[in-house]
C-alpha cells in the first residue's frame, strides 16, 4: 500500500474489499518505516509486536465497514502517554518511563480500531521549533534531509510527509503542529482549546496545549479530529460542547464566506515567495466565491514575548514534578534529598528546557511578577480582543503559517531569540484558544509553503470547508517527496 497514492478512505475500501488484510497492511507499514526512516529518523520507538497482534484481532472479527479508521496504522507524538509503550517526551528525564495508563486520545483511537505503530520524535517536552532539542535523534525534513522538519511535532509531520503513516497525532502550544505541517507540505490542525482532552498529554503550557491531527489531506484530517474530540471528565478544561461530524458538509464550498487577511501577517520578515503564495491563495478563494478584505491585528506583533513569558511560566510550574523521586531519571552519586532534586533536574533536562524553566521562574518571582507575568497576561487579553473584533465581521482569517520555509539543520539552534521569532504567525492563535490549520499552498526552492486558516472558537467546520475547497482547486497536496531516490 503506497501511502503517497491513497488516503484513509482508499485504504479503508481496500481493507473492506479484502484486497489486503489488516495484518498485511500493518506488516507493510513497518517494512516501509524500517526502510524509509533510516533517512528521516522520525520514530523513537516502534510497537511492532502489539500492533501485529491487534491487526490479527481485527482481521479475526472483520473490519467494520462503517468505520473508516478501523485497522489503520497511526503514529503518536512521544508526549502523549501510551500504556505499556515507553513515553519519553524526547527527554533524558523520562528515558525509562513506561506509562501505566493511556491518554484519553489513545483510548479513543484504540476504540476506533486504529493501530499505534510507534512513538514520534519531537523537541524535548515540546519546547522548540525544529525537533533539534530532542535528546535522542535529529529528525530530517521529508523534502530535503539537510533541513529541519520543524517542531515541536517534527517527527509526526516528517513521518506523514514521507509516506510512513497516513495520520499522526501531534500537540500544538505555539505552532507545534501547524509549523512542521507547513515545513513538510502536509495538513496540520490545532483544534480549539478544549475541543480535545489533554488528559495524558505531558503538560508544557496548560492554558495553550492542544492535541491535533497531521495528515496528507483535509478530509483525512477531519476524520481524525472526529475520532479524538469530545468532553472528558478527566480534563476539566475540555468542552462539553457537542462535537459535529467535521466531514459533514465539508464539500459545501466557500461561496459567500467572509475572509479576513491581517496586514501584519505580511511584514517584511515574511519571505517574498511565501507572501506571493498566500496572495495566490487569496485569489483562489475569491474565484471560489468568497469575499476577502484586509484587516488589522495590531497587537499580534507582541505575540512572541507574551507567549514566551506565559508558556515558560506555566512550564516552570508544570515541570516541577520532575524531581527524580517517583518516576523517570534519578541522578547517581547523591548525598542528600536536595541533591536528588538538583542533580536529577540538571542532568535530566536539556538546555532549551532549562532556558524556559529559568525564564518562567524569573517571570514569576517576587519583584518581576508584575512587570513580566502580569503584563504578559494583560497583553494576552488585547491579542484575544484583536481576534474578537475581526470575527465580529468575518468567518475566517487567512495568512502564511511561517515566515520562512524549512531552514538547515543546526542553523538556528544556538540562537534562541531567532528561533522564537519563527513562531510569530502561529502563536497568537494559541494565546486566544482558536482553531488553526496549515495546508500546502506552494513551493519555494522546492520546499513546501504552508497557508494558515484561523477560525472562531469551535468553528473547525468553517476551517475544514475552506481547506477542502482550496485543496479541490489546487494541486499542491498531490505532490510528494522522493526520499533517498528509492520510493
Amino acid at each position: 500500500m503506497d501511502y503517497f497514492k491513497t488516503d484513509l478512505k482508499g485504504v479503508h475500501e481496500a481493507l473492506v474489499k479484502k484486497d489486503l488484510s489488516v495484518e498485511e497492511l500493518t506488516q507493510e507499514t513497518f517494512a516501509t518505516i524500517k526502510d524509509r526512516d533510516q533517512k528521516i529518523d522520525a520514530f523513537l520507538a516502534l510497537n511492532e509486536e502489539k500492533a501485529v497482534k491487534k491487526a490479527q484481532a481485527i482481521d479475526a472479527r472483520g473490519v467494520n465497514q462503517d468505520n473508516v479508521l478501523d485497522g489503520i496504522p497511526v503514529g503518536i507524538k512521544d508526549n502523549i502517554v501510551t500504556k505499556g509503550l515507553t513515553t519519553t517526551a524526547a527527554s533524558k528525564m523520562l528515558y525509562n518511563f513506561n506509562p501505566i495508563y493511556n491518554a484519553t486520545v489513545m483510548d479513543k483511537l484504540d476504540e476506533a480500531g486504529m493501530i499505534t505503530v510507534g512513538k514520534l520524535n519531537m523537541d524535548e517536552f515540546a519546547m522548540g521549533s525544529s525537533t533539534e532539542t530532542s535528546t535522542f535523534k535529529k529528525t530530517k525534513n521529508a523534502w530535503d534531509q539537510t533541513k529541519v522538519p520543524g517542531g515541536s511535532s517534527g517527527g509526526s509531520a516528517a513521518a506523514v510527509a514521507s509516506g510512513q503513516v497516513l495520520a499522526a497525532l501531534g500537540s500544538d502550544t505555539g505552532g507545534s503542529i501547524r509549523q512542521p505541517a507547513a515545513f513538510n507540505g502536509i495538513v496540520g490542525v490545532k483544534p480549539t482549546y478544549g475541543r480535545v482532552s489533554r488528559f495524558g498529554l505531558i503538560a508544557f503550557a496548560s492554558s495553550m496545549d492542544q492535541i491535533g491531527p497531521l495528515t496528507r489531506n483535509v478530509y483525512d484530517n477531519a476524520l481524525m479530529l472526529n475520532a479524538i474530540s469530545g468532553h472528558d471528565s478527566r480534563d476539566f478544561t475540555s468542552s462539553a460542547k457537542e462535537v459535529p461530524d467535521f466531514t459533514q458538509g465539508i464539500d459545501q464550498g466557500v461561496k459567500g464566506m467572509r475572509i479576513a487577511v491581517p496586514k501584519e501577517y505580511f511584514s517584511e520578515g515574511v519571505d517574498a515567495d511565501i507572501q506571493a503564495a498566500v496572495k495566490d491563495a487569496i485569489k483562489t478563494f475569491e474565484k471560489l466565491g468568497a469575499t476577502v478584505d484586509e484587516v488589522s491585528l495590531p497587537y499580534s506583533k507582541y505575540g512572541v514575548p507574551v507567549y514566551y513569558i506565559i508558556a515558560s511560566s506555566e512550564a516552570s510550574s508544570n515541570l516541577q514534578r520532575f524531581d527524580g523521586i517517583r518516576y523517570g531519571f534519578r541522578a547517581d552519586d547523591v548525598k542528600n534529598l536536595e541533591d536528588v532534586y538538583v542533580k536529577s533536574r540538571s542532568e535530566g533536562f536539556g538546555d532549551e528546557v532549562k532556558r524556559r524553566i529559568m525564564l518562567g521562574t524569573f517571570s514569576l518571582s517576587a519583584g518581576t511578577y508584575d512587570a513580566f507575568f502580569k503584563k504578559a497576561a494583560q497583553v494576552r487579553t488585547l491579542i484575544c480582543r484583536d481576534f474578537e473584533n475581526v470575527f465580529a465581521n468575518y468567518d475566517l482569517i487567512i495568512g502564511p503559517t511561517t515566515p520562512t520555509t524549512a531552514y538547515g539543520l543546526g542553523e538556528r539552534i544556538d540562537d534562541p531569540v531567532t528561533m522564537y521569532m519563527n513562531d510569530i504567525l502561529t502563536i497568537p492563535v494559541n494565546l486566544a484558544g482558536l482553531p488553526g490549520m496549515s495546508l500546502p499552498a506552494g513551493f519555494s526552492h522546492k520546499m513546501p509553503i504552508g497557508l494558515q486558516l484561523i477560525a472562531p472558537r469551535f468553528r473547525e467546520d468553517t476551517m475544514y470547508k475552506a481547506g477542502f475547497a482550496f485543496e479541490q482547486a489546487t494541486d499542491f497536496h498531490k505532490a510528494f517527496p522522493v526520499i533517498g531516490g528509492q520510493n
Binding site: 501505566i100 482549546y193 471528565s233 468542552s239 523521586i325 494576552r380 488585547l382 494565546l431
Partner: protein, 100 residues
C-alpha cells in the same frame, strides 16, 4: 535591563537547577537576549486591562462526591526508581557526608 550571572544563579536555585561556570556564562548571555526581547511589552499601555489566564468558558467545574477505586499500589510503583514495602525510598534529608 541587563541580567547578571548572580541573578541567573539565584533563579537557578529557585528552579532547583545548577550550572557549571561555563554554562552560567552561556545562559546569562542568552537570558539577557530573551529578556531584552520580552521587555518590548513595556511599551504597551495596559491600564485597566484584565489578565487572561484561561481561554475556556468553563468556571468551577463540579463533580459528584462519589468514591472511586484508586490505582493499584503495585502498579503505581512501576516507574519508581527505588521502593520497599510499598514505600518510595529516597536518600537521607541530612547530608551523609557531614558529621552529625
Amino acid at each position: 535591563m541587563a541580567i547578571t550571572a548572580n541573578e541567573v544563579e539565584h533563579v537557578a536555585s529557585l528552579a532547583k537547577l545548577k550550572f557549571t561556570d561555563e554554562e552560567l556564562q552561556k545562559f546569562t548571555g542568552q537570558m539577557d537576549a530573551i529578556i531584552d526581547m520580552v521587555e518590548q511589552l513595556q511599551e504597551v499601555d495596559t491600564t485597566g486591562v484584565p489578565v487572561t489566564s484561561t481561554v475556556t468558558d468553563a468556571t468551577n467545574v463540579m463533580r459528584e462526591d462519589v468514591a472511586v477505586k484508586g490505582t493499584d499500589r503495585d502498579l503505581l510503583m512501576e516507574n519508581v526508581p527505588e521502593h520497599q514495602d510499598g514505600l518510595i525510598k529516597v536518600p537521607a534529608i541530612i547530608d551523609e557526608s557531614e558529621e552529625a
